[in-house]
Symmetry: C3
Subunit: 422 residues, 3 copies
Amino acid sequence: MMALVEELFPICRSITGNGVRRTLEILRRYIPLEVNEVPSGTAVLDWTVPAEWNIRDAYIASDDGTRVVDFAANNLHIVQYSPPIDAVMPLAELRAHLHTLPDHPDWIPYRTSYYVKNWGFCLTNHQLLSLADGFYRVMIDSDLAPGHLSYGELLIPGEIGDTVLLSCHICHPSLANDNLSAIAVATKLACHLQTLRLRYTYRFLFIPGTIGSLTWLARNEDKVGSIVHGLVLSCLGDSGGMTYKQSRRGNAAIDRIVAHVLAHDEVPHRIMPFVPYGYDERQYCSPGFDLPVGCLMRTPNGEYPEYHSSADNLSLLHPENLAHSLAVLQRIVTVIEGDAIYRSRNPKGEPQLGRRGLYATIGGQREPSYDQMALLWVLNLADGHHSLLDIAERAGAPFARMRAAADALVAAELLKPIHFQG
Amino acid sequence: MMALVEELFPICRSITGNGVRRTLEILRRYIPLEVNEVPSGTAVLDWTVPAEWNIRDAYIASDDGTRVVDFAANNLHIVQYSPPIDAVMPLAELRAHLHTLPDHPDWIPYRTSYYVKNWGFCLTNHQLLSLADGFYRVMIDSDLAPGHLSYGELLIPGEIGDTVLLSCHICHPSLANDNLSAIAVATKLACHLQTLRLRYTYRFLFIPGTIGSLTWLARNEDKVGSIVHGLVLSCLGDSGGMTYKQSRRGNAAIDRIVAHVLAHDEVPHRIMPFVPYGYDERQYCSPGFDLPVGCLMRTPNGEYPEYHSSADNLSLLHPENLAHSLAVLQRIVTVIEGDAIYRSRNPKGEPQLGRRGLYATIGGQREPSYDQMALLWVLNLADGHHSLLDIAERAGAPFARMRAAADALVAAELLKPIHFQG
Amino acid sequence: MMALVEELFPICRSITGNGVRRTLEILRRYIPLEVNEVPSGTAVLDWTVPAEWNIRDAYIASDDGTRVVDFAANNLHIVQYSPPIDAVMPLAELRAHLHTLPDHPDWIPYRTSYYVKNWGFCLTNHQLLSLADGFYRVMIDSDLAPGHLSYGELLIPGEIGDTVLLSCHICHPSLANDNLSAIAVATKLACHLQTLRLRYTYRFLFIPGTIGSLTWLARNEDKVGSIVHGLVLSCLGDSGGMTYKQSRRGNAAIDRIVAHVLAHDEVPHRIMPFVPYGYDERQYCSPGFDLPVGCLMRTPNGEYPEYHSSADNLSLLHPENLAHSLAVLQRIVTVIEGDAIYRSRNPKGEPQLGRRGLYATIGGQREPSYDQMALLWVLNLADGHHSLLDIAERAGAPFARMRAAADALVAAELLKPIHFQG
């Protein structure tokens, strides 16, 4: 995953344009993404697909021609969606178009102006302070013209049409944790799921933030009803603990599933209630859709100092964090796929596990083994009402252990499945 | 309000009599109270309006004629409802009629014997210890005879008949916090409400404790059904934090409203569950009425040492505490009046706030402003099910902020009101 | 109760056999137990009543004939259900049949092998280490042959058929806390209940663990439906605090009742959620029965170091602990028997308690008495919906106080009973 992040890092992505296309192209080397192109001007819900933005070069030059701020050095130097300009102006006039982070004088901020035409440059505070009075040439060689919005989509069909949505934003330029990390983890998860026989259908979206999810929702209102679980993926490579932001419903199945997996994970975690700010869960959880979609992160947006600055670079990511995030997602899939309701075939009293080789032969010992407890829990709650996740929660034990116990009990003809969840 | 308290303080009030009448008269200089007179002997629910009690003079004199305890010095010296007496008796016999506070030897207790004929004097423990053996003249120049029970009532009509009850007791003699403080705050609140265009109807009761609320309830059973929120007001002038005692229901709208207002108040507060002891909420919350009536106080009855003693005097009150109590009540009224349910006109995805001037123009910044969050919360939960108070609770933000956001969104035609609460 | 424990302690009990019969015989001196004998081979639910086991002698002797491990010294030395054997074997072969507690080298463990034929000896780790290499004679003079499973049952009829089940296991040999303590307490409780006029029917079971409860359930399926409350009793003589393990339902009436009684007890206590391990609650709470049966203990099985070893002997028990456990059970019975729902005859406003002699005559005092508060609570919640236990829980006061207040209010004709619980 780290190699993929490294390859994607230098590309200047935005909510539209060739950077996004190039990114999707690279992902298609791993997974058979379908790339959609939606024309500028298309009405999507309350919004309109904006003009396409592409940029070739941009700089601020002092009067001797020296580039004092240069897009070629770092693509964060330009405010995204800056229209073209080529002008000379005094520092006083230029200053209104310059953005810095005074608290982090060595970092370049990330700024956008998608929906209001407004050019600007981002630079370090040190750069700003070193600018002498006088005149500067401002040059932005960009196009802001009718084109298309591009996004990638992958459907991995399962036995049933009920769908798990996995969505990540692909609109940020050279920012590593937000969100190349999640792009890489989602790509790897999709690779993995393609190798499995799946019960649920999985839909992956690689989309520009906000306008991308709005566009997908507007074009796929008929598919929205089949989404039974969903996760927005973001910031999955930093060294912080796991964070799960609940869906608007707060008690959706995905909320319980993720909370269960994280509770039995070795890494510390936090559950945050829904707030209508953040990533594309804002759109999926708008009141007209109210989808069961939460957001899985390590350190959330806005909570790490490097967020939305040039310091969110490759040094913030560690391969083991990406691998751990992927493992958590795989465990979440395991619960989604494997949860089911059973009924005991011997509900009156405990069945005699001993003669079926499922019980310790010498009695009187202090404690049962973990596996023995799992067998007893599953039998005790196999009443046609409790799902394996219900049982795992009540037993305070990981889902996988209940899943294994259920398999052993089915094999011993002590249990029959009533129905799978979903 | 302090001036009003000071004017009322010297008057000897009881559950009936001229002290109450004089008090209501003074209040009528501020608000157009209707004064009701209910004859002694009137059956009110399980009770009977007692004889009217008036007192002119009372003292204990030593054999040289010196008044060693004198009602003229402090009206707490007499047990309320003491019948007339003029007798000479030895100290040993007198002692059974004397009440002191041994733990606070400088304070005079407040005692009553409304429903059992029993004369008595209250004095400081120092006074008691200084009484030499010998004979004393006991003189109480009082009337305990058929008359009337008096109480004041003010109805401030609103658009709808649904009524907010505000009730305070006016039966205590020279006790400042309990309850001249609440009488003053209620009077001021009534003045304020009269200047507003109100949705709800407000009913203020200035009544003697227990028998007054029983009398009002007995005479107004037809009006009880229209009470949708209610507060008993008491002890609102001391320097303690705010205390809210919940209604018997515990989850009435008023319980949520007061808890919300106090949670966002700058002063510490406490929420106490209902107990069937305290003030007139005992009657309003009796099982046959079970009204949604809580009790708002600063330090509750019985929890401050000066309670029901001569130390509950003007020095215990501070104008800023009275003003703060009034401000809290005004904020409660704001929620009662302003809570409503809305529906978004653009429920699918977020509406584009930017083009309506309701969103920051430069994106990428770390945190949204408070007001921007309020707009997002209201839009996200404007689903026809959540009221503004629900939204404020979920957002963890004060109601007023949600109210302002809703107004801005209605003005931008993004929201339509479904119905007001109540 | 201590004398009964001491008499029962030396007997070698198992899940079948003469030790159980002798034990029931002794209990019959106190209570008119019905003794049931169920033949080996009888199918009971998923199980079969096993062969009856009786043992006369057992030892390991060194080659000079010295008994190095001797059943006569302690009946824990033999693994329960060891089949007969008389053989000479080298220590290496013998070792696989020896059980010790290395962490407690002076204690003999308690081990069983009821359902797999497997002989064995239990000894102290010191004994094990002192065994020299060489040959040993192993002698077990036991019978493992068709016979009967014996259990005792006592029905104490009440006014209604709704039944309270009290169950304790009688299958352990010389172990004092587990479970002679509970046998003695249950016997004493049964004696006590026989002297009362009871509303509920009480059923006591003195049964071998697991197979005993399965046998009773299999033979009495028609009676299971009448069980409305139940407790398994175990480990009631040690000096630990009280422990209540909830029924599978977790919110059964018995769960609330026991939690209430323990919350107002002077001894610390713990409420544990149901787990499908422990004593016969495993069977009563299997999904096909799901009875409202919890388990009352002092220190739970497995949590005290002496558990299932020779150190669980008479020195672990104290008469005052047995007496306290009995007192707790009696208080539980008091709630079961005395809980009821009332309706106030004067629900509008408080009735005037003073003229009925139920209120302090001098008013103005700081705090009501406990009893006065109980009267006010019962009156306030006597609305035909709240039971006395509901009221006690809400008042945070012991049930007995509400019971007394209700009696006083019924006597004063202020309350009428609607119906008793159950």
